[in-house]
Subunit: 463 residues, 2 copies
């Protein structure tokens, strides 16, 4: 362990936005703790900004210089670590590449960059034997990277299930707690600063899929390309779904899942996806509120390990950036492959929708007339999907005249809970259901998250 006479660790920080300001505040306010824990000083030498004339809420640290020239960081021989907090892919990727080639360790909070160009960047870092820290890229202040890489290093990991996007979770929580519709909840998220002006990456599930990509890579040393992860977001979630989910004792959450088939990701394969799902209220994951994130990892030795914390924000994300920097200060051997081990990852066998099984929740808006349930049940039977529970509710709003070729009036909701069925079968059944003359809107379809027992949620008495 380092002693008190080590030279300081010198940082060049690229980006002075939310996370950059948070990191600078942490390094300033927690200086005493940091020095006590690492045995050396951590010092910021330069902060790279786009616009030198812009006013800053948080001052740059004493002795540090603001610069708009990347070379002041990249070509400075004193700078040990390049901290990439500018976001985006092109410029950030170019700077990270240059930093590694210049022999500087890199710490980044940029999940999009690593999801898009991880193979190239990790390979370069490994070749140069430098750190590539990215704890802050996944789930803000939750130490999920360390937990997978170190705490569970002796486990075979069986599954990862998580709520990895705080904006979506905030929107679903508002819809659930306050009965808001999607648009109102999204607006509230924007007002509070949780959602970007353009929230599309958050609510369509792609932001969560980028994080899931990084977790899969780390857990199994396997490449499951980010673009191949099946993703559906939360725009289709309605207050009605949230209400019906409650009748089953469930919450609707945007869930990321990854599960190992067999015992090797190359032969057995990995099943993964991002989608809205019904989560039993008894599960801790159902209790993740507001902008929080959580991850449940299942190891064959540790069992279930559940981590919960702030998924974003200047200080929580800054805390994870700081942790990676302090590993470097403590001379931990470089971690740079995006995996716990020294060797590059191999492509995973991607488990497709035919082999990917789950119970499903389906909601149909149907004309309330004889034979509806018979015909719906026939479609499901044709696709070998077995029904566990059905509710019919005469509460579907009649919002518009029926589309051409469709029967009216539309006054009933049909809610179906299936037993385990393949995503492929459910997809085909839903397509067939949508074509039935009495089914009006596209059917809603969510997975149902079950525990190890596989037990389905049950309708509550009185529902």
């Amino acid at each position: 362990m380092a002693d008190g006479h080590n030279p300081p660790l010198t940082l060049g920080i690229a980006g002075f936005g939310t996370v950059g300001s948070g990191l600078l505040r942490i390094l300033r306010e927690n200086r005493a703790e940091i020095t006590a824990r690492t045995g050396r000083e951590v010092r910021v030498k330069s902060v790279l900004v786009r616009d030198l004339s812009k006013a800053r809420a948080c001052p740059p640290p004493d002795g540090a210089r603001l610069t708009d020239n990347p070379d002041d960081l990249l070509k400075d021989p004193e700078t040990d670590v390049f901290v990439e907090l500018i976001g985006g892919i092109e410029t950030a990727g170019e700077l990270v590449g240059k930093a590694l080639r210049a022999g500087k360790h890199v710490v980044t909070a940029n999940k999009a960059l690593l999801a898009e160009r991880g193979n190239e960047i990790f390979a370069l870092a490994a070749e140069k034997k430098l750190h590539l820290g990215y704890e802050a890229s996944v789930c803000g202040g939750i130490p999920i990277i360390r937990t997978l890489r170190e705490a569970l290093a002796g486990d075979r990991l069986d599954s990862i299930v998580g709520i990895l996007n705080g904006t979506s979770n905030f929107i679903l929580s508002e819809m659930s707690d306050k009965g808001m519709d999607f648009a109102a909840a999204l607006k509230e998220a924007q007002t509070r600063g949780y959602a970007e002006a353009d929230p599309v990456l958050d609510i369509d599930g792609r932001d969560a899929a980028q994080k899931l990509y990084l977790l899969i890579r780390l857990a199994w040393g396997a490449e499951y390309p980010y673009a191949a992860i099946p993703v559906s977001g939360i725009t289709g979630v309605s207050p009605a779904d949230i209400r019906y989910a409650r009748e089953f004792g469930c919450r609707v959450k945007l869930i990321c899942y990854a599960r190992l088939h067999g015992d090797d990701p190359r032969s057995g394969g990995i099943e993964a996806g991002v989608c809205p799902a019904l989560v039993n209220e008894r599960f801790l994951l159902a209790r993740v509120e507001g902008a929080y994130n959580a991850v449940r990892v299942e190891g064959n030795a540790a069992g279930s390990v559940f981590l919960h914390g702030k998924g974003a924000g200047d200080l929580p994300t800054g805390s994870s950036v700081a942790a990676d920097i302090l590993d470097i200060a403590k001379n931990v051997p470089p971690c740079n492959t995006g995996f716990a081990g020294p060797h590059p990852t191999a492509p995973a066998r991607v488990i497709g929708p035919r082999e990917s099984f789950s119970p499903h929740y389906l909601r149909l808006n149907v004309a309330d007339r004889p034979g509806v349930l018979r015909d719906v049940a026939a479609v499901l039977a044709d696709h070998a999907i077995s029904l566990a529970q059905v509710i019919q509710k005469d509460d579907a709003a009649e919002t518009a005249p029926p589309p051409a070729g469709k029967a009216g009036p539309y006054t009933a909701s049909l809610i179906l809970m299936t037993h385990k069925a393949s995503d492929d079968a459910v997809h085909k059944a839903v397509t067939a259901l949508a074509a039935l003359p009495f089914v009006r809107e596209s059917p809603v379809r969510f997975r149902v998250l079950t525990g190890k027992s596989g037990e389905l949620p049950r309708l509550r008495a009185g529902s």
Copy 2:
């Protein structure tokens, strides 16, 4: 990072009980994962047992020898790591000391040893620049040591609150879910193997206090002697308390807490304790069921980080032992001070009961006669304790004739929720209440855990 041509890491394992067997199973079944993640083989050379003739459920690994001579581990030049899984203090302490002096890294699951002799053992490990891994000593499979030491290394930690004893939590869960009384729930815990034949260390809170000692030391680099931690266990928790807690929307949990006063443990001080507490059902901590453990850490940057997992058992504890071993395999610089930093810990200022404030739940068994509430309220007022809520219930069982000098009949329970009051004032008030002629049994007194807002639980409508 290690490459594939590193020599194997050689272990000598002392103890072949529950955790020892779990570790051996993990090293055997997860060999491929472990080699991929560390870039080298982890091999068991010898297993120290007390009785060589005893039959073993799990075979010793190929090529390993069983021995009853500690020197086969301690004096073997090939053995890199001494894994102490025998438990107890005298023998284990002696062997750990010898192993360190012989230049071997140590990994242990022995919280009692570290709580009693941590200063001496950590100092020796630090002097010898060897690892002293103890993740498995606290909360089985939950990576709380790593999280405090590494993930939150950039944070000033404000508080730690946890459920650190699975046996107690199982008993309270059974009482809560099934309406069992304490004795029946304890018996069930013993039947299931959660509680020892002699469960006293678990149910009186001392096991939890040993773990809390280690967390305080790690979080603040401060020595708060284990023996100085105020501890009360769960033997006094009755089904009535669990019922009344529910009326406030709470569960009763055995809670460990530690909180920094000011910003330095030496000047400001640390408030700590182990006691039954009412926990709002909305908190994740209230949702910790059965033999699970959980810890919530509050950092000034990361915010609230909550970890949940299996608190004990062969494989979960073995998983944490393995993680420490794999750190050594990966040549991580030794961690050996029981703190994140290189320097020995300093004594904390111990915050005493006069400065330790919390809302409290009190339950009195009283004679149902005029003036009772007036006199109870007077005692509390005399001790400057302000009442938030009161319930009187005519349901106290009349189990026996009143003791000498006490009035009868005893037919009412008086349940009081106080505003924040010092432990000292509450203790004195409870002593004074116990002396009132109409108060029969010793009053029951639990803390009430509040969130950051300090908001008190409220009686539910209809209670």
